[in-house]
């Protein structure tokens, strides 16, 4: 009995180590490759062999990639602020006020966040062209609303539903209007939820690819994912793996740091968006 329990304990830790290795290895390998140049890059190895920052200087000296990072930061930030602004009041109404058709409305909002982006692509293309936003960051800010807004509304609604009803009742007794309740009573309590939701929406906007690929043409207008996807060498056969790995590391490190700092909040936000207890 004791023998088998030791065996299962060992197996358990082998599993744990395996999970961590598989999760971390691709990023570790990208980091390793990003510091290798010349023939060194093309020899597979598991431990650092060289420390050459040439790939980083090559990526960052090309003006376009720096611009792409700025574009991504701008687009993702404005998208998140706009979505949170619209979502706070909407989710108050959805979480706190009983009205007919509320369940249906919630399902519709969820449905919007589910439907395939490709299904709106030609219509959105027309709209963006009509508004004169083609090849500007505003085309992306507008189109990203399609997934950030339903997501933020949905998550904030679940958060707001859990706030104690007594606080609101006390405010109503004191004669507070719904707007006062939101801005003075709920908003201070919602800060943690806003940070979580905003962060998740930011990551979603930062990672978006299809709209960014479609609605921008100039190299200086691209966002980071498009820039990395289209990073190419002198010829089609020659893929610049070193610079690609360097670019990948540059855009991933801030995300990983953010995610590790806000670990608990992110898990809470993900589960509120996905499963509800």
């Amino acid at each position: 009995m004791a023998g088998s329990s030791i065996f299962w304990n060992v197996m358990f830790y082998v599993g744990v180590v395996l999970i961590v290795l598989i999760a971390v290895f691709p990023f570790y390998y990208a980091l390793l490759s990003s510091f290798e140049t010349g023939t060194q890059l093309f020899i597979p190895n598991f431990l650092p062999q060289s420390f050459d920052t040439a790939n980083y200087t090559s990526v960052l000296s090309g003006r376009a990639f720096g611009r792409s990072i700025l574009n991504s930061v701008f687009v993702a930030s404005v998208t998140v602020v706009a979505a949170l602004f619209l979502a706070v009041t909407a989710s108050y109404a959805l979480a706190r006020v009983r009205f007919r058709g509320r369940g249906l409305l919630l399902m519709t909002i969820l449905g919007v966040s589910m439907f395939p982006q490709i299904a709106v692509l030609s219509g959105l293309f027309e709209l963006i062209n009509w508004l004169g936003l083609y090849n500007t960051p505003w085309s992306l800010i507008l189109s990203y609303t399609i997934f950030t807004l339903p997501f933020t509304v949905w998550v904030l609604t679940t958060f707001m539903r859990d706030l104690p009803v007594e606080i609101e009742e006390a405010a109503i007794v004191d004669g507070a209007t719904p707007w006062i309740i939101i801005s003075r009573v709920f908003l201070p309590l919602l800060w943690p939820a806003l940070v979580t939701t905003g962060l998740l929406a930011f990551i979603g906007a930062w990672n978006e690819f299809l709209f960014a690929l479609t609605f921008t043409v100039d190299e200086t207008r691209r966002t980071v994912p498009v820039a990395i996807a289209l990073l190419s060498g002198a010829s089609a056969q020659e893929i610049p793996w070193g610079p690609i790995m360097a670019a990948s590391v540059i855009v991933t490190v801030p995300l990983i740091v953010l995610v590790l700092i806000f670990q608990r909040k992110i898990v809470a936000g993900l589960t509120a968006g996905g499963v509800k207890g």
């Binding site: 744990v16 691709p26 490709i118 807004l149 994912p225 995610v259 499963v275």
Partner: protein, 326 residues
């Protein structure tokens, strides 16, 4: 005495309904900006895309209104040739389309099945007490945090036919005799896509299921342990049934996400017959070939498939997605 009580109760009730009305009015104005926005960025473009699918619009005519209404021609049409032979045309008669449908369905079901099983395993590991649990949870968040495009590139490098570390590992262990061009060969391209998707998305599944697992009361396991019930039996009789609601929701979210997959395939295995999905094919028609009629017909079909699927799932599974009943 009684009259005053009724009167005050009536007044209170009055005030109550007045308050309710005020709140309902406020709710309307709070919802209006969000709904208006969603109408402009979602409902209207969707409607226009569906309309395009009934026209012969191309990249030259899409913006100047010169495209013609062609009815269902983009979907299915036939022409009788001189020799009496019937020629079918349109998306529904297109072998490339059915190949894309097959790829999408195959990808979605295999990836979600793998992610569910592996996610459950990881969640069970994370749900038990051990040293370094926080570290493991942090580690599995890394694949989730890496942008899809970046993970496609990282894995594209690792799966490289000549210089990739995966081939080098497999060769040194003796599992393969010659390097495999994972992303280029039609028979292995789908495997490559599945590997990357499972790697990237299993953490998400694991976290959702972990949340479900943590809601199962600990004393349930405790009493099962004291009664000497085999852990496997506990898992199938207690854990799994209690986890079912969380599992159902996680699976539907993932399936819907998988059915619309675009970026991973577009970057990892471009132009591969073996992995082209409905989204990718539709995108190629719209952007590469400028065929807005056919591309929109394909995107509309994908939308219809997903809509039907969601309706079926909610109806069959009685899933409480909106959380209204809880």
């Amino acid at each position: 005495m009684t009259t005053t009580i009724t009167a005050s109760a009536e007044r209170a009730a009055h005030r109550e309904t007045g308050l309710q009305q005020q709140r309902a009015r406020a709710a309307f104005w709070f919802l209006a900006p969000m709904l208006l926005m969603l109408f402009f960025v979602a409902a209207w473009p969707l409607f226009r895309s569906i309309m395009y699918s009934f026209t012969d619009a191309t990249s030259d005519t899409i913006f100047n209104g010169q495209s013609e209404w062609v009815g269902f021609e983009n979907y299915l049409t036939w022409r009788v040739r001189d020799n009496g032979e019937i020629r079918w045309r349109g998306v529904l008669a297109d072998a490339d389309w059915w190949n894309a449908v097959w790829n999408t369905v195959r990808f979605s079901f295999i990836s979600v099945a793998l992610e569910t099983v592996l996610g459950l395993l990881v969640a069970l590991v994370l749900n038990s007490e051990f040293r370094g649990r926080g570290l493991v949870r942090a580690a599995i968040l890394i694949p989730w945090a890496i942008p899809t495009i970046v993970s496609a590139r990282m894995w594209g490098w690792m799966l490289n036919d000549q210089f990739g570390i995966i081939n080098s590992m497999l060769l040194s262990v003796g599992l393969i005799d010659a390097p495999i061009a994972w992303t280029a060969r039609p028979d292995t391209a789908m495997i490559a896509v599945l590997i990357v998707d499972v790697w990237k998305t299993t953490p998400f599944m694991a976290l959702l299921m972990l949340a479900g697992l943590q809601m199962i009361p600990r004393d349930m396991y405790e009493s099962a342990r004291i009664d000497g019930i085999h852990p496997l039996k506990v898992f199938f009789r207690v854990t799994l049934p209690l986890l079912r609601p969380a599992l159902m929701v996680a699976v539907i979210f993932r399936l819907l996400d998988a059915l619309r997959i675009f970026d991973l395939i577009y970057v990892l295995t471009p132009r591969s017959e073996g992995t082209v999905t409905m989204s990718v094919l539709s995108y190629l028609n719209l952007q590469q070939f400028g065929d807005y009629g056919e591309g929109s017909a394909q995107s509309t079909l994908l939308f219809a498939i997903i809509a039907i699927f969601v309706a079926l799932y909610i109806w069959l599974g009685r899933v409480d997605l909106s959380g209204e009943r809880s």
